[in-house]
Amino acid sequence: MKVAREHYRSVKDLPADEIIAPGSPLCAGCGALTTLRLFHKVLGGNAVVVNAAGCMTLMATYPFTPLRSSWLYTTMASPSAGAQGLRDALDILMESGRLPKDENLNVLVLAGDGSTLDMGLSSTSGAIHRGLDFWYLCYDNEAYGNTGFQASSASPLNSHTATSPLGTPWVKKDIFEIWRSHRPPYVATISAHDAVDLAEKVERARPLRGAKLFVALATCPPGWGFEPAMGDDLAKLAVETGIWPLKEAVEGSIRHTFIPERRRPVEAYLEPQRRYRHLFQPERRPEAIAAIQEAVDRYWDATIASERP
C-alpha cells in the first residue's frame, strides 16, 4: 500500500535538471550517489552542501567537483555545526542587507552513517535542539564504507564487516527514532529505489522550518559484496522484504509511506550479498536468519496494528 502522491505522480515528473554532473571518483553502482542525485535535483541547486568525512568526501577532489551547488568539507564529527555557522551567517547577511534574498542558499548536511550515528551525533543533536533550519541527508551504507567497510553502529545484526568477521552481534541503531525524539519538524527514511516517494518527502519537508532529516539506505557494491548492476534490485528487495521501511514523521507523528502487503522473506535480500554469506555457507544458519526475520515481522506487526484503521 502506498500513500497518495501530492506533488509527483511518476519519475517523469521529477525535475530534469541535474545538479550533479556525471563523472566522479566514486565506486561503480554507488547507491549513495544515486540518492544524492535524486535528492539534490528535487531540492534544487541553490544549496551549500556541508560534508562530513566519508565516501562522498571523494566526490570533490581538487580541482574537480561534479556539483553545481556549493560545498564545504568540515570534519567527521561536526557537519551540523558547520551547517549552524553557515545558516546563521547567511541569515545575518540577509538581515544586514548584504545578501539579497534570491542569493540565499539551502544548507544541506551530507554525511554517512559513521558520522551520523556515531561521531557526529552530538553536533546534529545540538543543531536539531536549537531549531536550526537545515536539511540533512544521511547515506546509510551500514558501515564505515570509505575506510574499507568496518562496522558502524548502523551495521545490521549478523552482517559481516572488516571488523566483525563473524557478523555484528548488535542490532542496528535506530537513527530515525533518535532524531524523532528531538521533535524536529520532519524526519524520513528514503530509498533511491522509490524516487517518487523520495521526491514527495523533499516537497513535504520544504515548507517546514527547522531540521529536515533524511536517512537513505545506500546500497554499496564493494562493501555489501554484489555486482554494481544489481544495486537497484537490492534496494527494491530491502523495501519489499520490509527490512528498510519507508516512513516519515511530521512534527513527531509517524506514517509509513509504503506498507509491503505480502513481505518477501528476508533471505531474498540477504542471500545475494557477500556480507551475509556466512549465514548460508558453508552451511545454513537458520537461527541467525530467523532472528533477522523475526525483528522485521515484529516491526511490521506493530506498525500495521497502529497505522491500519
Binding site: 541547486g45 541553490n46 551549500v48 556541508v50 568526501t57 571523494l58 570533490a60 577532489t61 581538487y62 580541482p63 567537483t65 556539483l67 553545481r68 551547488s69 556549493s70 560545498w71 564545504l72 568539507y73 568540515t74 570534519t75 564529527a77 561536526s78 551540523s80 555545526a81 558547520g82 551547517a83 549552524q84 555557522g85 553557515l86 546563521d88 551567517a89 547567511l90 541569515d91 545575518i92 547577511l93 544586514s96 548584504r98 545578501l99 534570491d102 542569493e103 540565499n104 542558499l105 552530538s122 553536533s123 543533536s125 545540538g126 535542539h129 536549537r130
Partner: protein, 413 residues
Amino acid sequence: MTTTMLTGNASAAWGARLAEARYVPAFPITPQTEIIESLAGWFADGSMSGRFVTLDSEHSMMTAAGAAAAAGVRTFAATSSQGLLYAMEVLYTVAGWRVPFVLVNVSRGLSAPITLGPDHNDVLAARDSGFVQLHAETCQEVLDSVLMAYRIAEDDRVSAPVLVNLDGFFLSFTREPVELPDPEEVRRFLPSPEARPLGFTASRPAARGVAVLEGPTYSYFRYQLHLAVEQARAVHDEAAEEFERRFGRRYGAIDGYRLDDAETVLIMAGSFATKGRAAVDRWRSKGRRVGLLRLRMIRPWPAADLAAALSGRKAVAVLDQNLAPGLGGILFQEVAAVLAQCPGHPPVLRSFVGGLGGKEISRGEFDHLLNITEHARPDEGPVGPVLLMTAREAEQVGQRLRIAGHVPEEVVS
C-alpha cells in the same frame, strides 16, 4: 576614550564588542565563561547585532566559527584548556580554510590531573595549527590585541585565524584599569565588518575544504599557509604603528624590559612576565645587569627580532610555563633554534620550567634561576631543564602524598 576597571575576560569581550563581531558561537569552560556571558548579555540587550549561539561542544563551536567566517561574517570565539584541545582537529581545519576570525584562549593547565590554574601547555598545543598567536600580559593588552587580531586576520596577505591568549585566573579574573578605545576610532582602525567578501551565494557557488589527494598539491596549500602566517609578522607591525597613532599604545612582536645594557636576559610569556619584571627591578637595584624579554607573538615566531635582541648577550634563561614531558620547556627549544643560527649568540642558554597549573614563581625561584644562569659555563654541554619548586611547596606536596597514603612518613620528611 574612558578608563574603567576590567578583568582580562571582560577586556576580551570588549575587544569583540568594539570590533563589531557579528557572530559568536559559544561553549562555556572555566575560566573563559565571563567572556561569553558578557557577550550573551550584549547581544540580548542590543549592544551587539548579529547572532550569539551556544553550541554543543568546542569542536562544534570552532566548526561553526570557521563556517560563518567562510561565509563572510566577522566572527569571535573563546575557549580554554580542554576546550581548545577538544577543538584541536577543527583548529587545523579552519586554518586550512584560510578564514579570518579571532579566538581568545584563556590558558589553563591540562588534564590529567585536572586543574583550573593556568599554564601554557594548552595554547602551545595549538602552535602548529596555522593560527597566528598573540600572548597578552595585561588586561589592556588583551583588549588591544583582539582589535589588532582582526586587522591581522582579515588582511589579504594573511587571511588566517588569530588566537589571543591570556592567563586564566591571574589575568582572566584580575581587575586592572583599562582604557576603552572610542568606538568611532576603532571603526577607523578596522575595516568595516560589512566589507568581508561573501563566501557562498546562489549565483557564485564555491567549494572550500575540498580533498587534495596528491602530495605536491597538498604541500602547495600547506606552504601557502606557512607563508601567509609569516606575513602576519609585517602586518602586525603595520597594525601596531597605526594602533599607536590612534590609541597611544605600541605593541611589538617581542617586548623588552631594561634590556639596553643587560648581559643576562630572562625570557618569559604571559601575565607571569609581570613577576619577571619585578625580579629584574630587584636585581637591577643590586647592580646586576639583567633584562627581561617577553614573547608576545608566538606564531609567526619572531626569529629575526629575537636574534637581534639576544645577540651579544652573555647569557639567556628561558622560563617556560609549560612542560613537554621527555623534552622540557617548549619555548626554550624554539629560542635555542634561533640562537643556534645567530652570529654572536650568547654562550650560555639555560632552561627553566615553573608556574605550572598556576603555581607561584617566588622571589627565591627567580634568584635561583639567575644564580644558575650567571654561574653557568659555556662549555658545560647540554643540560636538562631545571624544574622549579620551593622547599615549602615541596613540603606541602609531601603532606598531600602522606594523607593519600602514597609515601611512607620517613621518606618525605
